[in-house]
Symmetry: C3
Subunit: 391 residues, 3 copies
């Protein structure tokens, strides 16, 4: 029921259901009277409202062993294909997936935006998302109750057109193991490795610029850390380590990531990022962890919000510390640390409301500085509200 209503054939070999997702955001920045270091042009965050994510998904099963997902996002009145794939469950422990799908790297990338405890992903995503988000490819996954091993090879991300050269490609592989995985008790270990090659023009054939950066919110157009376009971009390798734990209402999750970039006519580059996040369910529920995926799923409230019964759903506090360093050799992408605090209200299995605050500090050597001076663009604050509906 919480995944939308399912239409099923009598024997259950054929099913179909429709999913949907609305993330309606309102964001405000403070201390964002900035200018560009390079030329003094003003640079201010765009604050306001937006439909961050609006998705429909048609999912189903056919001939017992096959399933599919066709999911697209219309946020900002443009189309962005998400999971568009066909899966074959060869055995209960072996799944082959063909189509547009996430690279098999990083716990945080694999977790759904419906399920993470913050309005935006961590600074680690400056290393992961630009080149290791979804792409056309084949994933092979083998898994058990408390472990998973998934690897895949991929072409380029969906693009409206090529750019005169054959596509690049890549691979990703991720392994997770949860030596402790009982009700409300968890110890999770994970590691992943990804690789992506640019095409013969040292560019990405989906039209994206080869660079690493982090936008404060999806609509702000404000990047406190940004390498700019990396000339001669040949290949990026992403390595990551994961650690997570849960004890009843308390959970913790951390990742270390490192990106190694080879350039045609320039020294190699190495960038780092990491995050540590802590969750505390004020109303006592434990979070949901799925051992065969090696990831957290959305919290389900014990009692759904219902005024007539004086039930108030679940409430969660989350704290995250993250850091990214995009400085190496001639690339001055800047570095920053950040603290994020979220108060999340889960009304029921389909609806939650997020109140988020974050402050970027120790912002150094990045593309932006304080307005009218030479001081660093420090202490930029973001206050974010999200109403989230998910089927």
């Amino acid at each position: 029921v919480n995944k939308g209503l399912v239409v099923s054939s009598e024997n259950g070999d054929f099913t179909m259901n429709l999913g949907g997702r609305i993330h309606a955001d309102s964001t405000t920045h403070m201390n964002d009277d900035l200018q560009k270091r390079s030329n003094g042009d003003p640079a201010q965050a765009v604050s306001g409202t937006e439909l961050r994510r609006v998705r429909l998904a048609l999912r189903g099963k056919f001939n017992r062993d096959f399933s599919y997902n066709i999911e697209a996002d219309w946020g900002g009145n443009s189309v962005s294909l998400k999971d568009v794939l066909v899966a074959y469950d060869a055995t209960p422990n072996l799944e082959i997936t063909v189509g547009n799908q996430k690279h098999s790297v990083s716990m945080e990338v694999e977790e759904s935006s419906n399920d993470i405890m913050f309005n935006e992903r961590s600074l680690l995503s400056a290393l992961t998302l630009p080149h290791f988000d979804r792409a056309m490819g084949i994933n092979v996954k083998t898994m058990g109750q408390n472990w998973s091993l998934k690897g895949g090879v991929y072409g380029d991300a969906v693009s409206a057109s090529g750019n005169g050269a054959d596509e690049g490609g890549g691979f990703g592989v991720r392994a997770t193991f949860a030596p402790i995985n009982e009700s409300g008790q968890l110890l999770h270990l994970g590691a992943s490795l990804g690789l992506r090659k640019a095409n013969d023009n040292n560019s990405l054939s989906n039209g994206k610029t080869p660079r690493l950066r982090y936008e404060t919110t999806n609509m702000s157009d404000l990047y406190l850390s940004d390498t700019g376009s990396i000339a001669g971009f040949e290949e990026i390798q992403l390595s990551g380590l994961e650690l997570a734990a849960m004890h009843g209402r308390f959970s913790a999750q951390a990742e270390l990531g490192q990106a190694d970039i080879q350039r045609d006519g320039g020294s190699d580059l190495r960038f780092n990022a990491h995050y540590l996040q802590l969750g505390w369910t004020l109303t006592g529920e434990a979070r949901n962890y799925k051992g065969s995926d090696g990831e957290f799923k959305m919290l389900k409230p014990r009692n759904n919000f219902d005024l007539s019964q004086n039930h108030w759903g679940a409430w969660e506090l989350a704290l995250r510390l993250d850091e990214v360093d995009l400085e190496d050799a001639d690339i001055q992408g800047g570095s920053q640390q950040r603290v994020s605090l979220n108060l999340n209200w889960y009304l029921n299995a389909n609806l939650r409301i997020l109140f988020g605050y974050s402050r970027a500090y120790e912002v150094e050597s990045g593309p932006l500085i304080q307005n009218g001076g030479s001081e660093e663009a420090d202490n930029v604050d973001v206050v974010a509200f999200r109403a989230q509906m998910a089927l």
Copy 2:
């Protein structure tokens, strides 16, 4: 059934249904050999065929008190998000709605394009639609059998990107009361007030130009009245009064609207528009009025079209007189009057065919004039055909 087939959980607390809409248009202009007043360039209407509206909507209910709507339009092969919202029915008389939705102003804006009696909205929409259509926001509504009071605050409309400044915002509030509201007998009174502020750049951060204008059809690219971009646009206030009545097969509806614009470095502007429309159901059915929304819904034929039973559905004649004046101070947007006549055929609850004719007359001081001369662009005719399917 007429709203699409519904899948429901056993206790009815969860439902899901899919809606859709096709408006397939064919339009022809006459007396449209015009030129621009400013530079003499030719200006002719584009006549032809188009998919005016093609929409899918996923709607449903969850946890009894919550509902959602995800609706998008693909007409012209581009995405335009429509109602994308989550609603909470706090009590039977109180509803809170979060997401992308119409401003709470003007009966004609609130009525669906599926339900109005004409191919295009009235000249009043030159004042309403440019700045008071859908936007991200929160509406609160309280209502009874024959009255409604809805108000909301909104950010900007959905946009693909910001433009370097924080979004503007606005509010809208509308009250309706129907002292007579019985089967086939109606007296409706309404009033609404809307306000929208531009952003700090005196522009709309959704990339739209701040201006008021009216296009003869959605594809014509012909504007007989058009203020052009209004420099220094700071704030627009919209005031409206509504009156409607129904007696059996006859109905009438009228609105007065006034737009007051404040400018940064220019005198204030005031523009006016109004319409009066009459409906006559030749086959005798009364139109449907929903008192808790304060609006008309689509006519339902008594007998659905069925050749085998010699049933011919419902037929409706509609007449509209409207006028807009976009002249004030230094803004020469022109003024026009128009008469529109529609013959509408309702085959069943899902299908209707519209035959529309309109003539714009008393067109004065607008951006277009007769070709090769200095005469006003008078007596432009539009003949329009629409096949409409709605679920």
Copy 3:
């Protein structure tokens, strides 16, 4: 079941079902180190992966005699409306269809990309698809068990905007007859005629360039035959003849097409194309032919793929020879012949995998030549893989 799961009202007068389509492609070119004949610029095919087609379709029936289809494609992250129409079954032998739909020409155009035996349509589509694909219009069809006659008039294809002149338009009419149409035995004859007029600017008001050409794959941006933009394009007439036959596991299909173009200020043009294709179902199934549509539908395997039962679905070999000649008067569009070979694996009614190879040879006088020389761009090879899911 193979058309998606259907929700139906009790008496069956109202139904609704959701369809979907995924074509996930990977393509590689060989011998594609080419350059432009005109200026020597390099011209290489873009090889790689893409979501060739990603579609959702909402289909249904209402009031017994009416049905609809709303289908859109999101491949390449852009919207392309496909069948968007309402149909009225006036009698069992008479159907009227209004909306966006295919021109009634050419067996190969009418057949679905889900059903044809090759990754891409034949070289004949260089004549048909540029001007006789889908457009807004009205089709009237009368048909029997083994014959069909369909004709329609159309405006222009869906476009985001006009271009300052009234739309052009066209018509298409196609007749098919199958004197033999029994289980596994078929003789099909068909003929079609289409006409399309450009608008008053000698252009197509949907923004497309008036020209004929053939792209080796949807993403390659490589055109071995291409007329370039045809100045003074006034009108194109398309004539076609069809012949098809089936004997058990063997099938054959051939079409001849001729395009006659009238120009404003240039001599008339005549271009020709044809193809012959042979199918051989290795696992013995006969293909499906629908006499009332005059086209082949997708093969259904006798035994669905199921490892546990040692079932391997259906396997099919297909061979196609095609040729196009875009040379006439001052238009140097080039000519080519091609051979295509496909091995297709039908796992079940919803899933098939295509392995395709093609070689273009006798490529002459076209826009591309061998790199660094003056030799013709001969023997360009394409290897293509497709995973196809269709509901």
